[in-house]
Symmetry: C2
Subunit: 333 residues, 2 copies
DNA sequence: CTGAAAGCGCTTACAG
DNA sequence: CTGAAAGCGCTTACAG
């Protein structure tokens, strides 16, 4: 593996000159540059990024923590983040925490050793406790897709989840539903609160018994939670699932229990994953701009890296949007 | 940010001694070690991984290329790979190529600059052309989930896709199906060949007109391909979709066209994604050991890194397995 | 526009 | 068991 010194020897110059033609930071006489380029080509030289990183203090990679990469939501976040990074010549160091706080902590501690120029943490579950580890990080840190207990020590780019829940609730209320259930992941408390607010606005109180926590964020989890909801209140007319995938499981549970959607049961999801458009019936859901969220969070970070200023600490809330499709209608009972 | 020298000064030793207590490679007198540890704690010192990498020549990170992270298949591959890496103290540099050959080439070229100790490339699409770029790589490279035109320059850990297709075909033939269609992604030629072989064994030839290429590996893609298949042969009794997600789209298309599955139409998928168990009817599919595949490929690489020997160049084929569920039965027409 | 020097923060033999 | 030296491969002022 050729080194910069090898190239310099071959071209009859010093390695600083080689560095200059590569970086373009300092003008080099065309004839000299040509010799250098020729030497590079002959040797198949390619700069050692690690050495460059040590000299410059920049690794050109940013770390991204996500709970998982399975499921359309975080997959999209990862790919959107990667797109922005690529535009800026950065690489992606990925870490999926898998709902395992200890695992997350280990990785967090590992990254502190500055092998990364910046860090984006997406999704709160199990990570809130370990954020103080990052207090002394020598690189900018930002958070996105944060729903509960948003820390104020770091900039956050997230969605107005309260509003998202409210949109779902208002839609169902507007249709005239009164006996409803919420199928939620444990940490979706803000969506739930927004949903409650929509009902409270009409003087309706959503009892805790109408909230069913899904054991896991999968179709199977939604399936079971829906069955629990049906058992708790056989006469309910609508369900808000705080995850599309939970809503898909609900559709199955409805089918099996002989409920026709939306005639016997309205279903509202959350996220607007691509799949739900093809579900039968096509799912009414709350869309959230996840790609835009990831993009803005990364850009925020990259801006701080570029200027080597601390990140501006702000809380940015993107707007959710209700997408009405075929899984909701007024109650017919 | 404290440096090793700072710690040494504080503890009243030289930085080599600090290095020794951190690495544990050389015994250090307990009293000295204690002083050093105290200094480390007081300063909040954490070693600079980039400097260490330059000195040791190892970055403790391996690169992983996947076509995408959306969809259960590659999401699983990524997480399985990450698990193994974590066990060995490695980080994951992720690159999704997004079916974009040019993008893949850029990243490949970038990684050649040894910011990575090893590289795993999963999924062939659009990458075969650029593999020669890796010929001179100074780190081990391996391939997995490779279906067509398996290169012999690198070790490959993949699935016996021909056998997978054959299993699907034999199942359908065993049930008595004759008029069948295949819904395939463009690069699934090996699964297709295996499927054909099962029919050829009974003297049945699968005409090209029975093969329908899905525009994209999504439910919508499967939906459209299924409709094309129905139009081409309204009397077909079974479909093999080379992707579960295509099969899911087929289920929708069948529903809408009034075909009851499996009575009017048998459907076989491929991959055994978690979702398909909950589909109605539950999908018969060919399971492939993707997590095991990723694990073995990474371990192969890590072994080569550890011994700094070149990877042993082999082709390893994992066995697919047919999972019979409720979407297939003998033709009733 | 080109060259000599110092430094990025570690590790690795090698003496003592 | 501890310290002095050289080196990993680059970049960055700084003279000429």
């Amino acid at each position: 593996m050729a080194t910069m010194q090898d190239v310099a020897d071959r071209a009859g110059v010093t390695k600083q000159t080689v560095s200059n033609v590569i970086s373009g930071r300092v003008p080099v006489r065309p004839a000299t540059a040509a010799k250098v380029r020729a030497a590079i080509a002959e040797l198949g030289y390619t700069p050692n990024l690690v050495a460059r990183s040590l000299a410059t203090g920049s690794t050109k990679t940013v770390g991204l923590f996500v709970p998982t990469v399975a499921g359309a939501f975080y997959a999209d976040v990862v790919e959107a983040a990667e797109d922005v990074l690529e535009e800026h010549g950065y690489h992606l160091l990925l870490c999926t925490t898998r709902l395992d706080g200890e695992r997350a902590r280990r990785h967090l501690a590992g990254l502190t050793s500055r092998s990364v120029d910046a860090l984006l943490i997406a999704g709160d579950r199990d990570l809130n406790d370990h954020l103080p580890l990052l207090a002394g990080a020598r690189f900018p840190v930002a958070l996105c897709a944060w729903e509960t207990g948003t820390p104020d020590a770091f900039p956050v780019v997230t969605v107005d989840y309260e509003q998202a829940g409210y949109l779902a609730g208002r839609h169902l209320r507007g249709l005239g539903h009164e006996r409803v259930a919420v199928l939620a992941s444990p940490d979706h408390t803000t969506r739930l609160a927004g949903f409650r607010r929509a009902f409270a606005a009409d003087g309706l109180d959503l009892p805790d018994s109408a909230v069913h926590i899904a054991a896991e964020p999968t179709m199977a989890g939604g399936f079971e939670a829906a069955n629990a909801a049906f058992a708790a209140d056989p006469g309910l007319t609508a369900v808000f699932a705080t995850h599309d995938v939970l809503a898909l499981g609900t559709l199955e549970a409805a089918r099996i229990s002989g409920r026709s959607v939306p005639r016997d049961l309205s279903v509202v999801g959350h996220d607007d994953n691509p799949d739900v458009r093809l579900a039968r019936p096509a799912l009414t859901t709350v869309a959230i701009p996840k790609r835009e969220m990831a993009r803005q969070a990364i850009e925020l970070l990259l801006r701080a890296v570029a200027k080597s200023t601390p990140v501006v600490n702000s809380l940015q809330l993107l707007r959710p949007e209700l997408i009405v499709r075929d899984s909701t209608c007024p109650p017919t009972i």
